[in-house]
Subunit: 338 residues, 4 copies
């Protein structure tokens, strides 16, 4: 914590600030310049609200000098975290692709798509059973029935699975049927849910909220890790901006930024990141080129009749072509897609 005092700060004000820093158990160093005084406090300020100092008399500015996260950051864990789920590997030199329908709709639908994406090279099968819908009148998912189908597809095609968990009381059932638990963008700061997930030992796929800064995404990961579950896969899925041609603005630059700040793998979701089928492939390629550890892609064999997100789902043949392209791009930057 660095506290910059105003030019006309009094000795009393300076000492009040120093006292408050000491209250937090911090070591205080004072620098008296010609124009102004700066107080530097070194130590763990993890949960101190810097505004506590900003409102004090005589204070000009306050800066934190450390990240608020610990377990999620590279400072305390320099090496890349590598998460293995069956044959799928997140982190390292692999680029791993998750694919499948937005919603699980029927055995026929799920198996058809599962076969297609597995054949094209996907390593994890996705499928939603509990759907967060903006409208209370829209299709809300098949629930447990859907999870059973997902488990069956997993066994049939020998592929691990991922599904979104929306509420704490779905935890047991999700743990029973799937391999990776997804936290949706709207739940990125559902702290009770994150806390519960921290108690499990299954990998968590954590999507960035629409208005979340990268630091907040890492703090959400910290919630899970603070419970002892270190298997967190981050996901960039688009942020909300003034541009309204696309549904969201997929923040590709978050990929290299996260790679620098954190040891956790980061995956991109160009399907939700754009909301438009024809933009999914270009953005998937861009994400891999920028260094993403993986992709999450919605695929449907009959998107015109999909119960949700059909317009952003790729046809199986589009997905297969995309896999070829990203395979070459991965290779061009020294990575690989098995």
């Amino acid at each position: 914590m660095v506290i910059v005092m105003k030019e006309n700060a009094t000795a009393q004000q300076i000492s009040d600030v120093a006292d408050k820093l000491h209250e937090f158990g911090l070591d205080v160093h004072q620098v008296d310049g010609v124009q102004r005084t700066i107080l530097g406090a070194i130590g763990d300020v993890g949960s101190v609200d810097k505004r506590e100092f900003e409102v004090m008399e005589g204070v000009f500015e306050v800066h934190r000098i450390s990240e608020p996260y610990k377990l999620a950051g590279r400072t305390f864990h320099a090496e890349d975290t590598i998460i293995k789920v069956g044959d799928a590997v997140f982190g390292g030199d692999q680029v791993t692709v998750i694919a499948g329908p937005c919603s699980i709709e029927s055995e026929h639908q799920l198996f058809t798509i599962a076969k297609a994406v597995k054949d094209a090279g996907a390593k994890v099968l996705r499928g939603g059973a509990f759907k967060p819908r903006t409208s209370p009148y829209a299709f809300q998912g098949m629930g447990e029935e859907g999870l059973k189908l997902l488990k069956a597809a997993s066994q049939e095609f020998n592929i691990p699975t991922i599904t979104e968990i929306m509420r704490e009381n779905q935890l047991d059932i999700c743990l029973e049927y799937v391999d990776i638990l997804q936290v949706g963008a709207r739940n990125m700061q559902n702290f009770p849910l994150l806390t519960e997930l921290g108690k499990t030992r299954k990998p968590v796929f954590l999507k960035r909220g629409m208005a979340a800064r990268i630091e907040e995404l890492l703090m959400a990961a910290e919630y899970i890790m603070a419970g002892g579950n270190y298997q967190v896969i981050l996901c960039e899925r688009g942020i909300r901006t003034f541009e309204n041609y696309t549904r969201n603005t997929l923040d590709i630059s978050a990929i290299p930024v996260v790679k620098k700040l954190s040891h956790l793998p980061i995956v991109a979701d160009p399907s939700h990141g754009t909301g438009i089928r024809s933009k999914v492939a270009p953005m998937a390629r861009a994400a891999v080129a920028a260094g993403a550890d993986g992709l999450a892609i919605e695929v449907h064999h009959d998107p015109d009749h999909a119960k949700s997100d059909g317009p952003q789902s790729l046809y199986p043949q589009q997905f297969a072509r995309l896999m070829e392209e990203v395979r070459m791009i991965a290779w061009a930057i020294g990575r690989k897609i098995d």
Copy 2:
């Protein structure tokens, strides 16, 4: 739904679109201009995803022609909804002020503040028992103990209360101790929680998410109302923008916009909307001047030692002065604060 075809759309493409509109049970009207054809579909398109048409061949643009919400909108309910909780009235010509500490910390703290805000004219006492904190290492609230204190303060000072509910399993306990249930900004699209609140008959105070469009705020209200609970008080608490001097940008214009689109009362929260004590009073005055039905203000008798949000809490005497100012402003625009 209005579907604008491309200039070179074929007859087949036009008829495919018309067929798909019919599939949704919509009545289709076709307008053939010199340059292009437009298809107008009239009927209830509540849960149709317009992208389903945008991806069809030959389609240039798609526009919805009705709001996705019904119960929350003025179209089906023209008169202002008025919600009464004890002596507090939300809606109509009253401007009603909610005040109290961010977190309940002790009986002494809560009662001291409760007395001060009641004396100054607040009609509802706020106090958090379950705190959503960005850091897993920060104070998480007193829990049920805090709710008991809130109930005691309510009885002691004869004032109704509000607290934030963070998870579904807190519902019973919250119903037992408080009068209004608050949904925080991070939970605005926690659909399972909204659904549960829709089953109760207690007023819900619904805060706008940091990245939520006004339409989405109304859709979140719709979730609650679809369950039969029509007592929803909306709250503008700031949106996230590129401006970083303030924590959030309090969107004052949302107040007149919501008043036009919806019959539900709307309250402003300048404490979270700015995050800075010295900006709370100006923004509170602005909100009342713009037509807000109420204010929610954080007050603390000793903010330097508050366990959360001290830097944005008003001192009791600042709150009392603010009440005088907003009383006059309310009067200036033909409203009143009893």
Copy 3:
């Protein structure tokens, strides 16, 4: 400038940073904590790019410790600047209203509106002669002919005037005919234009750009002031956000923020800030309640036939009613509208 070194920074890296700070003529203080070293550099760092240090080896974070502006800030000029133009006063306890049509269209139009706004209490008459239009095919303004009408109206109704200047070569003509020169939002960072305006001694009305942070608005004022022209009136006119119901989000909180950081007067423009007639009055009231030194309002006697911005122009009677409301609000917060 405060440079926080990484925990594992080497002595060489620390000394390289110190050397670079010395290169900029800064006084360097070193604080060696248990975990990391901090270098504090005190002195004038006005034009140093902090990224120059961020990219150095061993550097963790860099923070500036002073505003980049000087003349526009309160540090060097604590008292409010008061700008007088005829009977109009910007700054101090007055709230001053600028009103008039978006574009000057004809003598009849301008005189009709001028009379109406003057009668209702406006102190400055606005009218555009050079119009920045998003479309090259839209009405571009009457040019010098319009300015002559503005001058004539000024004399007829004894009211000072303001018009927008779009390019440097319009300066002479504008200086000849009008009293205040307006810089539009799109030109807030047209640095050559700002530099030219800095050489004049006429008041400049500087509108905040759609994507400009408050600091950048003050830096744009600094450009003008660096040339010796200290008469700058700032204007908040809405920023661009993801909310698309309103054209822009009028950032009311910028008003108290600017009042704290700068001694320059700040005016709000709710007409462009919302783009919707029915939202102009609520936002105008909000701006005055938040402490604005003035308002700029578009008024038209026949907005249905206005050549630009008719939909956001008030009718004269609406403007007169608004003046009554803001007069009372100004009084409620201890200010006045003569």
Copy 4:
């Protein structure tokens, strides 16, 4: 233009709207549904402000049914525009790289960098002589002296050049010395400058403004093209969002969106798009993977002593390595870098 009337709109209101549409010379079609009436107006509505209808009595919503741009859009010009400048080609299957220093500082500096970037495969040399700086106290560029050096470097290394023009009166001098005229982000809506550039026949490199929607970028191109200059190269250089880790958020998705809407080539500028050296290469690769027609990259042989933007400039060897990577990525998606 599609006008959706309110459910309770009167016959008079409907006919008023129809009359107003006729005033604009539009052909009106009326669809009477059970619940409401829709008016469709087909024709050229290029410069009609849709709010003119939104404020009319009985109107619920208004939608435009055509883009406001014509010359810049694919509707009227389906084939890709290809712009040739010496050996450089923008558009088609080539990916063309512009590189060079932010500011021209000396002959030694410029020639050193020019040789390096040409050797690595850049096809156009960039260099700023007139610098738009946020601070009036910062280096403002070498002016004409710089342009002379740029011309000399162009001849020495046989490479065409680009420089930024900031004001109209720099046009003649820029035309004399350089091959492509750049319009900076802050000038994207400097309409007088765009108009002047429309009168020349030199290619214009038009950067997207920080808060500009894609549609507005295309409208700015329209300004230039309306003057008869069809050689416009668009440039995505980052938009302003709430994320503050990067200077701007490079909107990679704008690349495929622009490719669909417009026939003009689009180039990405990852240097300004991120503002951080270590993020330039990943984002450059991403842009090419997403389909960009080119890149604009800042390179400096001694960035620690650059007079501007050193921290975002690549070292020559980093640039050379990046060229190898993007060459392979271009090839992976069926394009090429000669």
